[in-house]
């Protein structure tokens, strides 16, 4: 920690002993920026899929649907019977049969408007809202089977589980991508730092000759690369955030496809990227400098 503070405090004199480099400085800056840009997206992916998994987990878990397929004549009676069963089931907060208009609205995206639905044998849907504790799905199924032969209970588990699992995987993928980006940044900065150290072998030998300790020499290089990593990542992060802002907003119909982005305080997360990149650059350069200096007389 004191090493970090010493580095940040700075030493203008120490910075001057390493000759300025034009081209490699830009390359380091550019690569750090590009990596930060990608990191913003990986982060957005992780957070968005996390949100998605939560939503599917919570919202779908608290609702269920009962579908009643019965001949036209018995439909009303069976629906009423099913509602009676549901009302007396513990764990069911509310149960409500969907109206014809609501059912038509649900089907419209699939069949288009103007379909004569009233002439088709459409099953009746009952929306069931659970209480916090939930109901015993197996027990309810048995009761419905006994009293309403045309009723089928769908508690969404079949839907939910693969979706939640997929969202979890996506989130993991995002985190793995973040890790890979950090590792690639470290590797790249190590290469750049090593090249800089090799190119400045004469500078280092002069400094050693006049009594510079390894820490002093390393600092001159480390500060430079940490600053470049930090600056490049800051630029990349800002550009990444702008790109996320420019994405089309999430829509109700396809919400889970376009929900990539940050919400609320999650917008603070991307700003962790630049300091983290600076830290990665700091560590990578320090390791490279120590190793290189050890091999010099």
């Amino acid at each position: 920690m004191t090493a970090v503070r010493g580095m940040l405090a700075g030493d203008a004199q120490a910075d001057r002993v390493v000759p300025p480099t034009g081209f490699t400085a830009w390359l380091t800056l550019f690569s750090a920026g590009a990596m930060a840009f990608l990191a913003v997206f990986a982060l957005a992916l992780s957070l968005a899929t996390g949100r998605l998994a939560d939503r599917w987990g919570n919202e779908l878990a608290r609702t269920a649907t009962v579908r009643i397929s019965a001949p036209e004549a018995q439909m009303a009676a069976q629906t009423a019977a099913a509602l009676r069963v549901l009302e007396t089931t513990t764990g069911v907060a509310r149960a409500r049969a969907l109206s014809d208009i609501e059912q038509a609205a649900l089907l419209e995206p699939w069949f288009g408007p103007g379909l004569p639905l009233d002439q088709l044998p459409i099953p009746r849907l009952i929306e069931v809202i659970e209480t916090g504790a939930g109901f015993d799905a197996q027990g309810l199924r048995l009761r419905l089977a006994a009293e309403v032969p045309g009723a089928v209970l769908d508690d969404h588990t079949r839907w939910r589980e693969p979706l939640t699992r997929a969202a979890g995987r996506l989130r993991l993928l995002g985190l793995v991508a973040l890790g890979l980006i950090a590792a690639a940044t470290a590797a790249m900065i190590t290469l750049a730092a090593q090249a800089a150290l090799a190119a400045n072998a004469q500078v280092i030998s002069v400094l050693r000759l006049v009594g510079a300790q390894d820490g002093y020499i390393a600092r001159a290089f480390v500060r430079r690369f940490a600053a470049r990593g930090l600056a490049g990542a800051a630029i990349g992060t800002v550009l990444g955030c702008l790109a996320i802002l420019a994405l089309p907003a999430a829509q109700v119909e396809g919400g889970f496809l376009t929900g990539l982005g940050f919400q609320g305080w999650h917008w603070l997360w991307p700003f962790v990227i630049p300091p983290l990149a600076g830290l990665v650059a700091f560590g990578a350069t320090l390791t490279a400098a120590r190793r290189t200096l050890e091999e010099m007389p």
Partner: protein, 225 residues
């Protein structure tokens, strides 16, 4: 200050130096001679800790070189001024900044040392060239800048490797006078050179001892010059 005790040094295959014992006492003035490739530079490198002996013991300021860390060696270098034949500088910094480099790497206050620096630059006759870059200097100017850099920390010992190798006779006399002056101020001086005229010139002004490397051994050649 610097002591070598039965020191041997081998490069890869063969032995370059063997059974070398030497003690540089405070205030002494030594010349080191010998044919090219006889190991003068190697001996100097052993003296400032750049090389570790293959056998025997080198002590810098009573510290065994083998037991010194890299930072210990750096600290010892602040007390040993070194002038190479092909002096190297930081080519992107001015002559004045290069001369002040030992001060900045050891964390001294450069502003406080400013008068000393100016005096030293004047002493080696580089006042006009202080803001030039090292590649713009002539051979003699480089040697004098290197000497100024070597002594700015007021070291106890000055080691010079062929300091007059690249300069004309007049300039070599000037450099020699600077080194003799430093010796009068109490510094220990060791100059490696094959220039016998330089040694004779020095003998007129200062008590010197001449060491010679011959067939891998170090001999005292005090009287026969």
């Amino acid at each position: 200050m610097i002591e070598l005790e039965s020191v041997a040094y081998s490069y890869g295959g063969g032995e370059l130096l063997g059974d070398v014992s030497l003690s540089l006492a405070p205030g002494s003035f030594h010349f080191l001679t010998g044919p090219s490739g006889s190991g003068k530079t190697t001996l100097l490198k052993l003296c400032y800790g750049a090389l570790v002996p293959s056998s025997g013991t080198v002590r810098l300021f009573a510290q065994d070189r083998r037991e010194m860390t890299r930072d210990d060696v750096a600290m010892a270098r602040r007390r040993i001024g070194v002038v190479h034949q092909d002096c190297q500088f930081l080519d992107h910094l001015s002559v004045a900044d290069n001369i002040a480099l030992p001060l900045s790497v050891s964390g001294r206050d450069l502003l406080a040392e400013e008068p000393n620096l100016r005096e030293l630059v004047g002493w080696v006759g580089l006042k006009e060239r202080a803001q030039a870059l090292p590649p713009e200097l002539s051979g003699g100017e480089r040697q004098r800048a290197a000497l100024a850099r070597a002594v700015i920390m007021s070291p106890d010992v000055v080691l010079a490797d062929e300091p007059t190798g690249n300069v004309d006779w007049e300039m070599s006399q000037r450099l020699l006078r600077l080194l003799i002056e430093l010796n009068r101020m109490g510094k220990t001086i060791l100059i490696a050179t094959h220039d016998l005229a330089l040694i004779r010139a020095a003998k007129a002004h200062v008590q010197t001892r001449v060491l010679r490397i011959a067939s891998r051994r170090l001999q005292f050649a005090g009287a026969d010059l």
